[in-house]
């Protein structure tokens, strides 16, 4: 009898523990994720800080120029293409809406301000994250798993100086330039669809573009581009550099997952940072 009672009390205790686990499980998972996020955020900040410190070391300029070519110059075509069609769609949609309220003259203002303040920096950053950011993560990740980064350390070459600093610097240089290009081509796209295809007045469009924009709009756009450059380059370099530390996979798969994470995280952070920076600048 006593044995049976013991066994019943044991199974009750077990059931209670299971219930507690089920109830607290989601909170524990959220807590773990929060700790992981926070520690990764801290590590990324230290990573960025150390990389920035090494920008001014000797022999960096040729590497920065090379990275400006890969990140900036090689993204020109895709940025022009996306900028053109974004401007054309804006011209098309805005003209149709503005005609309804008899304000088609404001087309130039709408296209220019939307592009320069918001769409230019955001879409440029997303496009570069997808094109160059993924390449950065994959390249650094492969270098990590094939011991090339360890080889740099054994040769007394600081990997942060050699691999990371030039990429971050090149991004800071390239993003505003590509944003400016995107804005310009976008305004031309708006002109093509609004003026050439739908018949808006060319002089009014160009006058409104020029008259409605202030220097602050342009500088705000560039500030955003620089913030996005820091975010994208840091996230992509960090994900590749620590690809070997992933707990969910190893080797080539880890590089693949790191690349995906880098692009997704960059895009999300671009949108979050856009809101934060916009609210600070307004």
């Amino acid at each position: 009898m006593a044995l049976k009672a013991d066994s019943q009390s044991l199974s009750k205790g077990k059931a209670r523990r299971q219930l507690v686990t089920v109830l607290t499980g989601p909170f524990a998972a959220i807590g773990r994720a929060a700790i992981s996020w926070t520690s990764n955020l801290g590590a990324s900040a230290v990573f960025l800080f150390l990389a920035i410190l090494k920008i001014l070391r000797p022999k960096q300029i040729p590497k920065i120029i090379q990275q400006v070519y890969y990140i900036g110059a090689k993204s020109t075509m895709i940025i022009m293409l996306v900028g053109l069609f974004t401007g054309m769609v804006m011209g098309l949609q805005s003209y149709r809406a503005l005609v309804k309220v008899g304000a088609e003259g404001a087309l130039g203002t709408l296209v220019a301000l939307s592009l320069v303040r918001e769409l230019g920096p955001v879409l440029t950053a997303i496009m570069i994250a997808a094109r160059a950011g993924s390449a950065i993560t994959a390249e650094i990740g492969i270098q990590r798993i094939s011991e090339q980064i360890d080889a740099l350390e054994t040769m007394r070459i600081d990997p942060l100086r050699y691999l990371i600093s030039p990429r971050i610097t090149a991004s800071i240089i390239s993003f505003p330039l590509l944003t400016a290009l995107f804005d310009l081509i976008g305004i031309i796209g708006g002109y093509i669809s609004g003026v050439l295809l739908l018949g808006a007045n060319a002089g009014t469009y160009l006058h409104r573009v020029q008259a409605s924009m202030e220097m602050k709009d342009v500088t705000d756009g560039f500030i955003k581009a620089i913030v996005f450059a820091v975010i994208v380059s840091t996230v992509c370099c960090y994900q590749g550099y620590f690809a070997h530390m992933r707990t969910d996979s190893h080797g080539a798969k880890a590089v693949g997952l790191s690349t995906t994470s880098a692009v997704v995280l960059s895009c999300v952070l671009i949108l979050v940072a856009d809101y934060v920076v916009t609210s600070l600048l307004i």
């Binding site: 022999k59 390249e139 492969i142 270098q143 094939s146 011991e147 090339q148 360890d150 080889a151 350390e153 054994t154 040769m155 007394r156 070459i157 050699y162």
Partner: protein, 414 residues
């Protein structure tokens, strides 16, 4: 003995719950080739990465010329570690750079040398590594052996004082394996660096090593010369050495030194004290010239061809052979007195002059880096032994009797 260049004192390393190194004690001396042997996954590479500073011990101390690394000033520590170069198991060449750029990288990034001087040094190393034709190729366009040579050239381009080799011969065929080991030995003699190898190429690695460190069950259980390892009585020998060392040497197909001794003792037991046997010692001369002019692979191919030829000839008449040193072979004729052995050797010499030496040359030429001829000679010496005399003394006696039996002359090689 001198102060060790590198010393481990009670070094322990754990990865999570797994202890890889436990209270490891070892000494590495300047100017020597030291080889760390052990089974795969026993922590050899982890040990090597502690030396270069890629990993830090959880417990214990690493001393550099008698000074503990953690107590050194930052500059002093950096200067000590800067003298070390590392050749990775999988080469770790930068796949987006050409061979030239890979080799030039440490000079470009860590020195203030002028472009012309960097070019001179890199070109010289490329030439020494027989990579002149591959200088502007990418690593993926090279064979495994060429990638190894490129990695070796990169490790040596800064003239380091200590070079660490992590499994330098992995994934290579027997000729290339021995060619890489021969290259390491030659460079070590030429440049005088301290070489530390991790390898399980037994017995090939014995030919180039001054000291062997045996890593077993997370600790160093033996430190000494390859000859001392022969007499080391420990489970390591049964579990590791005997499992790694085949009965026959991979390159030549001859018996390993251990198996040769086993066969010798078996023969000895069957003999009375007065019965005799004979020993012939062969040496392939001018190895350095072959290496310099034709390359390491050609030299190893010549050694392989010679081993095969000796085995074919003397194996058919009851003899058995081993490779004693890189270019030295020993044949034991268990049932022959000196007169019979001399007669057998005479037959061998006639045949060798007619066919053998040309066979060696043909083998070497197949793998030669250049279409040029190299004169070389083969020596042979003979001695008679009895069961009461130590075999090593008989081998030494035969070595002292050596004289030239054949020479390849470039003008008559045909």
């Amino acid at each position: 003995m001198d102060t060790p260049l590198i010393e481990f004192k009670d070094v322990t390393k754990r990865f999570g719950p797994r202890t890889v190194l436990e209270r490891v004690n070892l000494q590495i001396y300047e100017g020597q080739v030291t080889t760390i042997i052990g089974l795969s996954g026993s922590g050899k590479s982890v040990l090597l990465k502690h030396i270069i500073g890629l990993l830090k011990p959880d417990e214990g101390t690493i001393l550099f010329k008698g000074k503990p690394l953690p107590t050194m000033k930052k500059n002093e520590k950096a200067a000590s570690l800067a003298r070390i170069s590392y050749m990775f198991q999988d080469n770790a060449l930068f796949d987006s750079m050409t061979v030239y750029e890979n080799i030039a990288l440490p000079l470009r990034e860590t020195t203030n040398l002028k472009k012309a001087e960097i070019d001179r040094r890199v070109t010289a190393r490329i030439g020494q590594s027989e990579l002149s034709d591959a200088a502007h190729k990418y690593p993926s366009e090279l064979s495994g052996g060429m990638q190894k040579r490129a990695a070796l050239a990169r490790a040596l381009v800064t003239d380091p004082q200590i070079v660490l080799f992590d499994e330098p011969t992995s994934g290579q065929d027997p000729v290339r394996k021995n060619a890489i080991l021969s290259m390491i030995a030659q460079y070590q003699r030429k440049f005088g660096f301290t070489a530390i190898l991790v390898s399980h190429e037994i017995p090939d690695v014995y030919f180039i090593s001054n000291r062997i460190l045996a890593l077993y069950d997370r600790a160093i259980v033996f430190q000494g010369t390859p000859e001392e390892l022969e007499n080391f009585d420990h489970p390591f020998k049964d579990e590791v050495i005997h499992s790694l060392e085949g009965l026959q040497e991979e390159l030549t197909g001859l018996y390993s030194k251990r198996q040769f001794k086993v066969l010798y003792h078996v023969q000895l037991k069957q003999k009375t004290l007065r019965e005799t046997y004979s020993v012939v010692v062969f040496t392939l001369e001018e190895m350095d010239a072959i290496i310099t002019i034709l390359g390491h692979e050609a030299a190893q191919e010549a050694i392989r061809s010679m081993g095969v030829y000796i085995d074919k000839h003397f194996g058919a008449i009851g003899g058995f052979s081993t490779r004693r040193h890189t270019n030295q072979f020993v044949t034991l004729l268990p049932y022959s007195d000196l007169a019979e052995a001399e007669s057998m050797l005479k037959d061998f010499i006639d045949d060798f002059r007619e066919h053998g030496i040309r066979g060696i040359w043909a083998g070497a030429r197949k793998r030669a880096a250049a279409e040029v001829c190299v004169e070389f000679a083969v020596l042979a010496g003979i001695a008679q032994g009895q069961p009461i005399v130590e075999i090593d003394a008989v081998i030494d006696s035969a070595k002292h009797q050596q004289k030239e039996i054949a020479r390849l002359r470039c003008d008559v090689r045909g």
